[in-house]
């Protein structure tokens, strides 16, 4: 019973935070007006209130909320690759779409990480993490070169973009991001139960009947696509992909059948929440990546002290 309540709560959370976020902003709008404006817009009615409120809600706040809900988890140490792709496209090849660059380089980064970790036959978790760090460092260095070489005007946009922010959200970026997201999430969500067996290690997964190479290819490919499309519209927003699944695992247990959809919901809720803070804490718009990183650090110190053993939350 208590468990059902928790699951229900997590499932509902993105919508709750979305409502709060709609209400809360530099330009005060009454709840009633919001309801009226959105109702009018959705059902294509002419409304007397239109104008500013509509424009703030429909063109600024709502896309931003939807976007922050879309952009979340999957970190495989591949965001640095995506970052490099984006920086490259901003700095040197403006004719090459940022999304594509982010996707290609997140794939490059994740597969290099994977190949490096695999060089000794069986893939070990430690090797994967270590190669992830090495590859991240490499791509960060490449990004630094670009930052150093590029003209100051472009530098500002690269830096802002590396910090991660939703401040430039509009409906067209939602279109772009959600296309990649949906394409990536469909296989991830449909195949999520297999992650249980896959997490038991290569040989055991094989003996259970999983073609490990093929499945891993699908998971890494799809995750790269998701990260690529997320990063291309919002920049790098770190820590969420580590924090949210971990917390969700404590609440719903490790079975990926539940864990994945609820991580998605919780990630969406968390990002909306963090972005609402980013918009409202100060009079200017702080990049939301700073908020998530700031909250990520104490969270991981807490996790490490608590020890991995007690991650069981039932």
């Amino acid at each position: 019973m208590k468990r059902k309540l928790i699951l229900f709560g997590i499932g509902l959370s993105p919508f709750v935070f979305a409502c709060i976020s709609l209400l809360w902003g530099a330009y005060a709008i009454a709840p009633w007006t919001i309801a009226k404006v959105l109702f009018a817009k959705i059902f294509l009615l002419k409304s007397a209130d239109a104008g500013t409120e509509l424009s703030i809600l429909w063109d600024i706040r709502l896309p931003r909320i939807i976007l922050s809900a879309l952009v979340d988890p999957f970190i495989l140490g591949l965001s640095s690759g995506a970052a490099f792709g984006c920086a490259l496209s901003v700095a040197l090849f403006p004719q090459f779409p940022i999304q594509a660059a982010a996707f290609v380089f997140s794939l490059v980064a994740s597969f290099t990480t994977y190949m490096l970790a695999r060089s000794h036959g069986e893939l070990s978790r430690l090797h994967l993490v270590l190669s992830g760090i090495v590859i991240s460092a490499f791509f960060s260095a490449l990004v630094s070169i670009l930052k150093f070489l590029v003209d100051p005007h472009k530098l500002v946009s690269i830096v802002y973009w590396l910090l991660g922010s939703f401040s430039l959200s509009d409906w067209s970026s939602i279109g772009v991001a959600s296309l990649g997201m949906v394409a990536a999430c469909v296989p991830l969500v449909l195949m999520r139960w297999r992650l249980n067996a896959l997490s038991m290690g290569e040989e055991e997964a094989r003996s259970l009947g999983i073609p490990v190479e093929r499945d891993r290819l699908i998971f890494i490919g799809a995750a790269s696509l998701a990260v690529g499309s997320a990063v291309s519209v919002s920049g790098i927003i770190g820590w969420v992909g580590l924090m949210v699944p971990h917390l969700t695992r404590m609440l719903v247990g490790p079975d990926h059948k539940l864990l994945m959809p609820f991580s998605l919901a919780a990630g969406a809720a968390f990002m909306i929440f963090a972005d609402t803070l980013a918009r409202n804490l100060t009079s200017f718009d702080i990049p939301v990546g700073i908020i998530t990183a700031l909250s990520g650090t104490p969270f991981f110190i807490y996790l490490m002290r608590r020890g991995a053993e007690t991650s069981w939350g039932r």
Binding site: R125, M191, A197, S199, E203, S207, L208, G209, I210, P254
Partner: protein
Amino acid sequence: MGKMIEAKGLTFLHRGAKNPVLTQIAFQAKGGEVTAILGPNGSGKTTIFQCILGIWKFQEGQIRLSGEPVNQLKRAEIAKRVSSVPQEHDPPFAYSCLDIVLMGRTAHVGVFSSPSHKDTALAGEAMRTLGIDHLAQRPYTQMSGGERQMVLIARCLAQDAPAMLLDEPTAHLDFRNQITILKKVKQLVGQRGLVALMNLHDPNMALLFSDHVLLLKDGTIVAQGKPHEVITRESLLEVYGLEVEFVAENGFRVICPKI
């Protein structure tokens, strides 16, 4: 074709290695029988398992699972024919015991779906068969060694394959649990006519619980046959380099090393 694991002329080398790990291995493990593989560390016992499961590709010879060559079967098809209890076992997350048993259904569940009610029911039934249904919602990582082995055997039953490999199922278990596990395996094999192939360290356990024994030394089978015929003073001396004495009491023969 009855339930059977059959190996002929099986030879395996690691990539780049000169000396084969297995040379010309040939045996039959039949349904309804417990086949035990005895041999010192590094004699190739686990390698035989890896070859049967199709995890390592062997260079020569043939392994047939109920008549079908293993190197022509897909992963899921192999898993439908042979299940396995791995040696060491520490999952990365605290899955519930039921989650672990359900993993046995992987080969039967479609790539793009999750286990159905039927799969969950089969997993529950497997746990009941082993008398561990009360552990279903408990975290596997908090289970004792004996309980873990029971869960893994339940997973094999849920996998519903005619053959079952157990890699040192009694390692790390206390005396009582060793007996409990082996008794359970023997009982299941008898009731369901399963093929069971297991690696053992203790020849006494092989005498007590197996119907057929393969004696392995340096990747070759030195002797095979009925336990009492194969496990002798001479063969144990040859394989382990250890002087032993047989003690007979109340119709049991017990091996006692000379110390």
